[in-house]
């Protein structure tokens, strides 16, 4: 009987458990969970504060998930050391676990830049975990002014989540635009205008130089007074276990298309892993939940002796604020087809007869048809792209495709 150990208890760990069980119903699975919670969806913490979900509904898998999959979870335990030669993980509590196959799914940690006076700020929060959200909630009140450092996905979802629960929200970011990791200038401006319409104020291209009590002094000289501070500047992959054990790491733990690391019998998946972005060929940390699950599943299958590859990983995001949705995927390279719509914009990027990426704001209906073109590397001259680029539909794929996909099992 094989002995599987998974470090971490998020989407990648769930993927690994389900992947292992799809091949091996017997082996022993042990999950090391730093957080004292049943697996929940981290991106839902903003919806929790908004009152659109609750702790029970935000569980990523049903309550009997571990039991059904016969996985033992060690809650509140952290892995301290990995010894790949002895095939052993030592926990901070001193306990040691042997493994035949290991999946490192340690996720990432919020990165807080050093700012003069930051340590003295009392109501200071990160926004990554359920515990973070609950701590932030305790500091919120209808009269509170909140300063959020970081206009990325985490900072803005946080802003949306607490909008109705505080008096004022200011978001600052060193980047000159919102969502700078996924949007270019025009598209970011569109989202920013929408967010400003919701009542969120922005200080972009500006950063906090120092804190003096409840006042942030910006680089521009502006002063922002606040009651609650949220730092959402970015995250760093938790690579130290593998790095200290001699495994190859870049910005994340390097993993191949089987999700295997450079260490024997050690796999990595989720926000801690660095894998190839099929649209650019570059190795990247793509910290998105679908890829965490898919990578974890791939790792699990291979850990159990099956054969699964992840060859078509790409960055993609679906993010909405109060009814305005924004979807992005892949790389923004090559020729750009642009179409302005009533509430938004569509940009499709094509290169070498392939769709490489897109940004769609507003009318996102059936956008997955575009994503599938990227993932499947569909040659654009094999279909009627002139029609498809205006409206995502199956007609432009032609009769043979429809016969296969609509007339048979897929």
């Amino acid at each position: 009987m094989k002995n599987y150990v998974i470090i971490g208890n998020g989407a990648a760990a769930v993927g690994a458990i389900e992947g292992i069980r799809s091949v091996d119903s017997e082996g022993r699975i042990t999950v090391i969970s730093a957080e004292n919670h049943h697996v929940y969806s981290r991106p839902l913490i903003s919806y929790l504060l908004e009152g659109r979900t609750d702790e029970k509904r935000m569980l990523y898998r049903p309550e009997d998930f571990y039991e059904k999959n016969r996985a033992e979870v060690l809650f509140g335990e952290k892995a301290a050391k990995l010894d790949p030669k002895a095939k052993k993980v030592t926990l901070e509590s001193g306990r040691a676990l042997s493994y035949d196959s290991l999946c490192v799914a340690t996720g990432s940690t919020p990165f807080v830049p050093p700012i003069d006076g930051l340590e003295s700020v009392k109501n200071r929060h990160s926004f990554m975990t359920l515990d973070d959200a609950e701590a932030l909630e305790r500091d919120l009140d209808p009269e509170a002014s909140v300063l959020i450092i970081g206009a990325g996905l985490i900072g803005l979802k946080c802003a949306e989540g607490i909008l109705s629960r505080c008096k004022k929200i200011t978001v600052c970011d060193l980047a000159p635009r919102v969502l700078s990791s996924i949007l270019d200038g025009d598209c970011a401006a569109l989202m920013q205008a929408h967010l400003e319409g919701l009542g969120i104020e922005f200080l972009l291209g500006d950063t906090v130089e120092k804190f003096s009590g409840k006042t942030a002094v910006m680089k521009s000289g502006k002063e922002v007074s606040f009651d609650v501070l949220v730092t959402a500047v970015g995250v760093r992959a938790n690579v130290s276990l593998v790095k200290d054990a001699g495994g190859e790491v870049g910005r994340g733990i390097l993993a191949d298309s089987k999700m295997k690391t450079s260490l024997d019998d050690v796999y990595a998946a989720g926000d801690c892993a660095e894998i190839t972005d099929m649209t650019s060929g570059e190795k990247k940390v793509m910290a998105i939940m679908p890829l965490a699950y898919i990578g974890g599943h791939c790792a699990g299958v291979n850990m159990a002796g099956g054969d699964e590859s992840l060859e078509n990983a790409l960055p993609m995001n679906s993010i909405g604020f109060a009814g305005l949705h924004c979807m992005t995927a892949g790389s923004y390279v090559g020729e750009c087809f642009e179409e302005k719509t009533e509430r938004g914009i569509k940009r499709l990027y094509t290169k070498d007869n392939l769709l490489k990426g897109f940004i769609i704001i507003g009318d996102v209906d059936r956008a997955g048809i575009y994503t599938s073109l990227i993932r499947n590397k569909t040659p654009l001259d094999s279909l009627d792209f002139e029609i498809l680029k205006k409206s995502p539909s199956l007609a432009p794929f032609g009769k043979a495709y429809r016969l296969e996909k609509l007339g048979g099992e897929v």
Binding site: A11, G15, S41, P43, L44, Y47, R52, T53, R57, M58, L59, Y60, R61, P62, M289, P290, Y293, I294, H297, M316, N317, S318, I319, G320, G323, H325, M327, A329, V364, D365, R366, A367, G368, I369, T371, S372, R375, N376, P392, S393, L394, A395, P396, K399, R402, L403, K405, L406, G407, G408, E409, V410
Partner: protein, 148 residues
């Protein structure tokens, strides 16, 4: 869980009249109303099956209930899952409408619904019809519910 031997909705596009009846029957079946007029009159319907056209050809597109559904793998809230019959279903109580499933469905078969969550074909297994209403009402057998 049945995946390989489940009944699915399949399309015979050469027989499709383009009448869009499947769309109306779908919207009615999932409306929760017992009267079709009451359910659909003066309403913009949001069916889970959509008739497309390609020149003279029409065909209806609905969830393929894929063997390896990328929507379930991508769902960030755990709202999408496969039930015992093999059907891919959405727990609207868990869904928060992030639309990640819309971003990944290769067939464009998951849509945002009025309530800020998503909706999709569940083969009418969870409404009162019990079998796909689109197929039941198709006048020309252009869509069928069978094992292939």
């Amino acid at each position: 869980m049945r995946v390989n031997d489940m009944k699915r909705v399949y399309v015979n596009e050469k027989w499709c009249l383009g009448c869009h009846l499947c769309e109306y029957n779908c919207a009615f079946a999932n409306s929760g109303e017992s009267d079709m007029v009451k359910a659909l009159r003066k309403k913009t319907i949001r069916p889970n099956i959509v008739v497309e056209e390609d020149g003279d050809i029409n065909f209806a597109v609905s969830c393929r209930h894929c063997k390896d559904p990328i929507c379930i793998k991508s769902c960030i809230s755990g709202a999408l899952s496969r039930d015992e019959s093999g059907a891919v279903t959405v727990d609207k109580n868990k869904c928060i409408g992030c639309l990640t499933c819309v971003l990944v469905c290769p067939y464009g078969c998951i849509r945002e619904s009025d309530g800020g969550v998503v909706q999709k074909c569940e083969l009418c297994l969870r409404n009162t019809v019990g079998e796909p209403a689109c197929v039941k009402g198709c006048p020309n057998r252009a869509i069928v519910f069978e094992e292939r």
